[in-house]
Subunit: 434 residues, 2 copies
Amino acid sequence: MSTPLKVAVLGCGSVGSQVVRLLGEQADDLAARIGAPVELVGVAVRRLDAPREIEVPEGLLTTDAHALVTRPDVDLVIEVVGGIEPARSLILAALENGASVVTANKALLAEDGPTLYEAAEKAGRDLYYEAAVAGAIPILRPLRESLAGDRVTRVLGIVNGTTNFILDKMDSSGAGFAEALEEAQELGYAEADPTADVEGFDAAAKAAILASLAFHTRVTASDVHREGIADVTAADVASARDMDAVVKLLAICELRTTAAGEDAVAVRVHPAMIPRSHPLASVREAYNAVFVESEAAGQLMFYGPGAGGSPTASAVLGDLVTVARNRLAGTRGAGESAYADRAVLPMGETRTRYHVAIDVDDRAGVLAAVATAFAEHGVSIQTVRQEGRDDDAQLVVVSHEATDAQLSATVAHLREMDIVRDVTSVMRVEGENE
Amino acid sequence: MSTPLKVAVLGCGSVGSQVVRLLGEQADDLAARIGAPVELVGVAVRRLDAPREIEVPEGLLTTDAHALVTRPDVDLVIEVVGGIEPARSLILAALENGASVVTANKALLAEDGPTLYEAAEKAGRDLYYEAAVAGAIPILRPLRESLAGDRVTRVLGIVNGTTNFILDKMDSSGAGFAEALEEAQELGYAEADPTADVEGFDAAAKAAILASLAFHTRVTASDVHREGIADVTAADVASARDMDAVVKLLAICELRTTAAGEDAVAVRVHPAMIPRSHPLASVREAYNAVFVESEAAGQLMFYGPGAGGSPTASAVLGDLVTVARNRLAGTRGAGESAYADRAVLPMGETRTRYHVAIDVDDRAGVLAAVATAFAEHGVSIQTVRQEGRDDDAQLVVVSHEATDAQLSATVAHLREMDIVRDVTSVMRVEGENE
């Protein structure tokens, strides 16, 4: 058996500590699968005396991450610090130093992935990041490799456990958003400051990574249209239930056609109603799932825990085995694939469907007036349901596919109409092909 | 861009014709993803004048498969003929000739995989076979690579679409086996001779492949305990429904411990009841899904179409891209990994749970007598339900985990008891951890 491969771990929080644990516990299996033993040579932390989930031999801990990744004998660097800096500088330094890198850093990849991919290319080293999207669920490798002979047309993902937990709770108990968030916080599914999850930043980063791989095009977080779930009401969820649907925060990556007939990529994160019969509808609590549609394979779904120290560490170590084997073989895996270089479709031109609930005066001609407003903006109506009477009359309209610009203009128009008292719920509808 | 890679396709049936179609339609994308164009140089068929789904340029068709795979200029061979011979000889000849091979041949891999893996090793070439299990669903690559840093403990798979269609039909309509089979045949989900599917041979081959990869141990079809679904009755399905469960034909691969405390592998295919709340229970019609449990990742599920020309071709071409890239880089992917070399646990020592429905005389002491029979064989009872009275009295017993030998001895014992009129249903129960 070869000489050991030397591994440095950056970060010893919930993921890093599980990585360190598994490197020890699975050492024999890792060595057999890689073809050489793996030796942990250092763990970079912010404070030496911080409390941790596991005991790290004291000689391995260091606060000098830069010195660790530039050690001449380090072969493999695992970055599980998170955030933009110093993670970016450390990964770049590691690659420049000739190390192969495994990271779980979705925010960094979504913001500045190309810089890292180019550095890996230049160094001739691997940069793997399966753990960056949907935790333990193998989704990047299948997209990049298993579906490499196919044409992926759409990816629909539930890629944020916190928001799925909150929406699932709202659906099962009828709770409002604030109440469900509080419960998620009490149970440890949401952080004290839940902004990154609730406002869709986390899901948008993952959407950018998924779209880049699925469509062989550079997509960054700023290309992703993003809406969070803070405005989802108990009434929205109840309205979805009436339609035999459920509200989910979806990351949606689609191959679409521009007005000029070119392929383009549309990437967005927003709450949406999907039919209960859709495989994604049964994803409960904090679980994640990614639904992929491709021309030849048809519909695939990948399901599992989307976060957590130990599941994320599983994904990190899977990458580590591949990267280590490549290193021993003197080769590297597939680098960035951005040859298709498709345009990103602006949200306004993206075609979606809307569910709109409208409080109206209950008098003759209301339905005709509302239908006319839709028609004026070129939006075709799929169904209208009228509920209640007098002071409590409500129309629920579900449209056919139209551009998001047409749909939002329709809603703005409705809000200005005399007979419309209020537009109480506006939500996109996904998961059904027209 | 490099010189073209030359591809030979063996077989032009439902999968082969889709492979040929996609090689043409996706040529530009394949070239960009591989880094070199792919040129189809021949398609081996049994009869030149057979009807086919696509038109193959006449100069490419040949009936001499052996001559095709041993052409000195062939780089890649795709084998989608199926069956043991001549597929095995052709793959061996192709590898010996220096070609890399992609196959979808589960029967061959399950019967004689090691011969092929050794030939690939000796030739220093790739042998990839993602399409052999669960069609388009990426499951082998995730098991082999994504979970390489984890310890897989169990794989539960619905890996045969025909039997899932039949059992789903029995569940949704109350039909008996014969009637559901007939419908499956009419709709093209079952063949005129349905033996390979219905008797579990197809699923057993896939179970052997899954177990080999999951547990790094050579497992062949003869190591798999196999029971088909021909004896599943409408009463079994109804009884499952009473328990809020559903009957599925499962491929079950488990890491178990022998009496001597060693790790061992238990692999079996049989109909089983699983709770309706289990993710596998919602796999309808002819879809496939594979549920994986591992120590760090937890529970994952992979879902999609398990058969069909186009989905299977997607998996074949995904492998083709990887194998072609490896070839250009002068490297090969991970070969067979059988280092763990675990023993295969005999079915009698495998621990399972039983659901047993017993027609009994309705008199005092019956329950005690039945319970005593279970206890005599060391089987602990989880629940007993008593239904009906007088001539129609029935006990439904669900056991805790015991060895299959203890459980089958208990059933044999029950059948000999005076107070037992008949044991009407015996089925294993899976998908719950004890």
